[in-house]
Symmetry: D2
């Protein structure tokens, strides 16, 4: 069975996903697209040579008989309504982060999905599909380092535009870590604190950069994450897990070891889009395979909600300077 | 267009390829299989849940109307006849190494293909599709280290069975290097010499292990390859390219950096099958895509022939102890 | 001129220093020793074949005419009285950490030294002489990474005895970091906070292990130090400095890269005594050279005092759970 | 006892050694110097503030009553006569490489030393004292990788002047490897072969650069050494030992790991003088200690002779293109 997919939002990430589904992955076919800008939708259909109908709006696309599953890759604040619409239609939906613009919005999706009685939503937390994070998770789960006690992490970008302001370090950047930590540790967050080192000369007026987020989990794991989005030197994701018997590090992306000009060096990526390319492929292939088998397994709307709750508390902690509690309702049995 | 593929030989590698075509790659479909052991063919069809007809023999499979392209993954000495048969039928054929049991056999395939006037053969030299080798090639081609002057390489296996004898180090093991060096350097071999270090205690009576092959190319690049197939510690492929302005190394396969038990370590693979899994995927995807576009681009039958010629000279050099010339006929314009 | 040295306290570290002065370093000679246990002093004189007089007590040793400089390597709580005695006698004194048992004790030494008008005290903070830390300091001072913004550090031991209790993680273990950070950054501490991850199963009843100390400096640098003294796997000192334009890491101690048994590994030290052997040599050679030139340059009694003040606040922060201010009096011009 | 040392030849290396003896090492004192250029000798005495007599010639210096041991750091072709003169005077002599200008000259020294009945000569092969090579030797001797089977090595310099001609790659550059291999493996050479890759554009008209020397030892170990003295990128000494159960690599010199400008890098030395600074210290300290104990242990005149014999054969192999035998007389029991 080929999974017939409709894409809502054909901006950069939407076009990327449409391209990988039609050219790289197997088992899926783009049959419908829509975008707030119809010319943009048309251009993507042409560029990718898709045999796909162009819809006026997402809701019509969702309802189309020949659409088995929906990709929501539109502007963030519109995610909630399309995911709810897909749930109402009983269709599988892959939603890029954020699941919704607010934690409350996420909760409405969770409630609708639970009420519907069937898992239909997968959230685009692609790091869970990165080969390096999978090695970390496998080693933790096998007890190779005993119980995990601490995570030391960093999320660094070469630079960000002036429009990137302090809270975005949380809801735009840290959001991926907020999901991947829960998954890695099979745990939930308990408290958050944010501290601000001296500001880099490369930071902007509306941005305190770098910052350090300190998280505590229910099991007592302590996590520190440096967020440094004008670090100049590269896009660099670090994750070191300290366990009772050992320490493991997220692998560096593959590169040549080069001896040249008095340096023994490996290249560091400058472009974040290259870092998780393979993870995006696996993520969407798993979604397509899951839809084909009528049983999806990826990050749930509960995961999207949990990340949103933690994200909100971190933003609060940025301004309070205090250790802030993160209170999550109990996870419904539905998502276990 | 879906490329309809017939598989001749459903042993380990044949089944692997059938599996990746039907489950991982896109654009291809296994429609026909055959094996010298019909039960084996049947078992693979069942295990992979293929919608494929089982043929009594490879020649009938090749002639089948619904077969667009053929995979030859049968026992090595039978490769030549099936490839020639596919050429006679004007069908695309992907042939696992070796292209033929002898250099003469390879030459017969080259002649038949040239006579037919169309490139139809791709040889299974998968290293050209390995991401690490591609990084090496890209750096060389861009002149990042100036002209390449030397290659220092190693091909190590943890152990081999007693049936593995000295010449197999060349035609079974070195054969991949013989292809990949020509491709990396865009060059041909000129001489070969083999020297034997003291024998490892883990070697067998009919095997001189390790050995070192010294190659000289037409452009004057000097290559040393250590072949050590009872090295105990892992499956380890090393390739260091020394250029006029720098040195680059083939990356190690991805693994966690672990601090544990007084060691800072990365795992080394023990199983060769895991080393080039991703390269196999890319290789076959490129073949399928090429067939779909009626224009394939992978290693040619000339490449298979060139590797076979060099391989024969290396085996000769094992016993002569001399520097032996490698004489290649001029490459037909057809293959340029 | 040969510097004639008296050693007060011939336990492990005292004997080590006596040995390096008499056998490895140049320009110094052990002429006097004393120990609370006279047999121990005698045994060291015999073992090292020293031409040294054995004194009944430290004060007499300090006053001896042929003693140019004193090494205080006795039990920690006795350091203050011997250092004050050496100051009273106008003699150079090298004092192992801690300079005194309390911050107040350190302050009394500072006051006495300032009153005397001449720098006579060097404190045994040997990390300043470690080749790796010197590389870090040099890179920071040259601006190779822009201004330093954050330090991510770890101090790990394989295990500690049951007598090691929670505050010792600060005054026995972190004390070296507390000095080396001030020196690396040319900065002082402003606040301290301590957080406790879940406890390792290898920790003892009176020890919360691991713990994380969060420091803020006057310039705004943020430092996190993981202290993990039952980490099982090795003695491991990590220090990563994040600057505006790059990140630098303290080098790992030299070791062979070994491929063996499915691992690509470097050995990690298990014994802390081996980690800073070379630094101890340089530290004491610099002291001897300084005495010979009548001008010493190492860590001052002010440095010892500053580390003690920060240490006390960290111990307080262990129990308060709060962000605690670290208030240092202004540094006397004498020490600049 | 202080060892009183006379230095013959106060050029760069002579001054360096005089400086380390008087300023860094312990137990030695420079009491006499001479140089073919008396002003040069005078200048060094002044610069280093030595309490040393300046002699008209080496022979008078050797005979001086207050000279216990001699350092021969003069122009290479004069080494033999000074070493013989020291042997005639029954004095310890440390001779920089080469021991003599020819293998025959070395043999005359060996004969004189044996006739004298006492080991008096130490040759300046400092790599034996390098911490990295010592780690290699220790691992080999402990059998950590089983029996050594192969060595893959490189000796690279950024560049050499036009006066450096092809044979110098052997007698000036490879000479250190020729000694250190014998010592590492406790073995002697049996054959040598030299092959020439295509020449680097950075090479000179009288220099074939790079070149590869292939050595076979009596025990059957195979060694390949790349000599590349215009490699542009750094001074880089590589040595990888392949044993029956594992592979070990000479450590890289200590440096910071730096993340900056899209690179994860360690610095590579450009200046060979920095590479073995610590080894020079240990080497000379061991010589001084040996003289003080009347029993020296470093590289012998036999070692100097063996390296010279191998060096001559390698130079021959450069032009013959053949596998050339290396014939060593039996080592006298005196040197075992």
């Amino acid at each position: 069975m080929t999974v017939r997919i409709g894409v809502i939002g054909t901006g950069m990430i939407g076009e990327d996903h449409a391209k990988r589904i039609s050219q790289t992955l197997t088992g899926g076919k783009i049959v419908a697209v829509t975008d707030v800008n119809p010319d943009q939708a048309r251009a993507v259909v042409d560029r990718l040579n898709l045999d796909a109908q162009i819809y006026d709006n997402g809701h019509d696309l969702i309802k189309a008989d020949n659409v088995d599953a929906v990709l929501v890759t539109s502007w963030g604040p519109t995610h909630e309504e399309y995911v709810l619409s897909a749930l109402a239609a009983g269709k599988y939906v892959f939603c890029e982060k954020p699941l919704a613009h607010t934690a409350d919005g996420c909760k409405r999706i969770v409630d609708a999905e639970v009420a519907g009685g069937k898992r239909l939503v997968q959230v685009g937390f692609m790091r869970r599909y990165d080969s390096g994070y999978l090695l970390l998770k496998n080693a933790i789960d096998k007890g190779q380092i005993g119980e995990a006690l601490m995570l030391h992490c960093a999320h660094r970008n070469p630079s960000v535009p002036e429009s990137y302001i302090t809270p975005m370090a949380i809801y735009d950047t840290l959001i991926h870590e907020l999901d991947v930590f829960r998954w890695l540790l099979d745990d939930d967050f308990k408290t958050a604190q944010v501290v601000f080192p001296r500001k880099s000369r490369y930071s902007h007026s509306q941005l305190a950069d770098p910052q350090i987020v300190l998280l505590e989990t229910v099991k007592g794991v302590r996590i520190d994450v440096e967020i440094f989005v004008n670090c100049q030197y590269g896009y660099d994701i670090q994750c070191s897990v300290v366990g009772e018997e050992g320490v493991i590090n997220l692998p560096e992306p593959e590169s040549l070891l080069m001896r040249k000009q008095a340096q023994l060096s490996n290249a560091i990526l400058m472009d974040w889009k290259k870092r998780f390319v393979a993870a995006f492929d696996v993520e969407l292939q798993m979604f397509i395979d899951g839809v084909a088998k009528d049983s999806i397994t990826g990050p749930t709307s509960w995961d999207g909600y949990a990340a949103a709750v933690a994200s909100d508390v971190c933003v609060l902690a940025q301004t309070s300077g205090q250790i802030e509690p993160i209170e999550m309702p109990e996870q419904p049995a539905f998502y276990r």
